[in-house]
């Protein structure tokens, strides 16, 4: 591969993009993009996501954030199953790096982590990161964001702790076993907050609705969608909190496994044979 041919390829690709988009914007294909309207399905979602009108009141999901409503309510705990897929990935990672336990980290080197400046700044930023993550997770039913995004933001904290304060210090706070256990507790919390209304309904005798878009006329028990004038979104708030918890600890377990010292891992692999 020579240099002139690289330049020729780049120029031809750029020309292709510009000329094709000129043809498209002049109406060469009989239609213009971007469209000015959305599909009927989208209009249905937007109408029923949060509506106190008489017509839509009983089929509304009662959450101003349409994406969160679709992910939890319309698709029925979809995020629980997609988090389970991530759980399977963690199981795979644990199986591959079997034998890697924190007990092997006993012989810690004398000088740990980065300099004092980096450590002090990290201590300040960790509080800020946690505040932003809590805001994303707790406002998941109001603004773009939600449980998974909040949990992924919290997962930046263990990453910073491992890189700046070293894995030796972090493994004293959190082990892989503890992180996976806490993650399972988060997943169980989602399941429990699903059934909490059912338990209340069984105690008082009656029927309950889990999601706000289930038939509410025939059942009396359910978590409140809003207390005047604050919007709560029913079970969405609980779901988002537990989801953030589960995702954060799942990432913590994976980060510990990723940053395990290479010489110890090599010893484990050679020892097996």
């Amino acid at each position: 591969m020579s240099r002139p041919i690289h330049i020729f390829i780049v120029i031809s690709l750029v020309l292709l993009v510009v000329l094709l988009s000129m043809a498209l914007s002049m109406g060469g294909f009989g239609f213009t993009i971007p469209p000015h309207d959305v599909r009927a399905l989208a209009r249905l979602y937007l109408n029923t996501t949060f509506n106190l009108d008489e017509k839509y009141r009983y089929i509304s999901a009662m959450s101003p954030e349409a994406v969160t409503a679709i992910v939890w309510d319309y698709r029925g705990l979809d995020t629980l199953f997609e988090t389970s897929v991530m759980f399977i990935a963690i199981v795979g990672a644990l199986a591959i790096s079997r034998g890697a336990s924190e007990k092997l980290l006993k012989s810690s080197p004398p000088k740990q982590g980065m300099s004092l400046i980096a450590k002090t700044i990290t201590r300040i930023t960790i509080a800020m990161i946690l505040a932003v993550a809590a805001s994303i997770a707790l406002h998941g039913h109001l603004t773009p964001g939600g449980g998974f995004q909040g949990g992924a933001t919290i997962a930046v904290v263990p990453m910073l702790l491992i890189i700046i304060f070293s894995l030796y210090l972090f493994s004293k706070m959190m082990t892989v076993y503890k992180a996976v256990t806490l993650r399972s507790i988060g997943l169980i919390g989602i399941a429990l907050s699903t059934f909490i209304v059912l338990i209340i309904a069984l105690l008082y005798g009656g029927s309950a609705y889990i999601f706000q878009n289930q038939p509410k006329i025939y059942s009396y028990y359910g978590l409140p969608s809003y207390i005047e004038p604050i919007v709560l979104g029913g079970t969405l708030l609980l779901f988002n909190i537990f989801e953030a918890f589960a995702v954060a600890f799942g990432f913590a377990a994976l980060l510990i496994l990723f940053t395990f010292p290479e010489d110890i891992m090599k010893n484990i692999i050679i020892g097996d044979e």
């Binding site: 094709l20 988009s21 990935a89």
Partner: protein
């Protein structure tokens, strides 16, 4: 020819081109790590593309509202006239999580291949025996 339409078309066609370049990277680079980097570029481009399918050009283009108190029906009617399609965004949210899980597993497998064989070059790995 509208300028907005032209710029929008450039974005979409660049994404198609980006997809093609990422596929080229997946097929031709010998290193497994570079293949994984190309795969992430590929999946991110497809995700952005799916979000753009739900885009709507409303005039005037609204700023996304933050609803804390219960909105009035009149406000909602206005909102439905101008909001974008939320379904592609929800689909992409799922796709990102699944893609992340697949990526993590691929990275762990590559790390293990490097630990055992000492290389991530597919040409050398395919020649190994035992």
């Amino acid at each position: 020819m509208e300028v907005e339409s032209f710029l929008f078309n450039i974005v979409i066609l660049s994404m198609i081109m980006n997809t093609a370049l990422a596929l080229y990277g997946i097929f031709t680079r010998p290193s497994l790590v570079k293949k994984i980097i190309s795969l992430t570029i590929f999946s991110d481009t497809i995700n952005t593309w799916v979000i753009i399918i739900g885009f709507r050009h409303a005039v005037p283009n609204p700023i996304p509202p933050v609803v804390i108190e219960a909105p009035t029906p009149q406000y909602l009617k206005q909102f439905v006239m101008r909001a974008v399609d939320p379904l592609p965004q929800a689909l992409v949210l799922t796709a990102i999580v699944i893609g992340l899980a697949v990526l993590l597993f691929l990275m762990f497998t590559t790390l293990q291949i490097y630990r055992i064989y000492g290389t991530t070059d597919v040409r050398k790995i395919s020649r190994l025996r035992g």
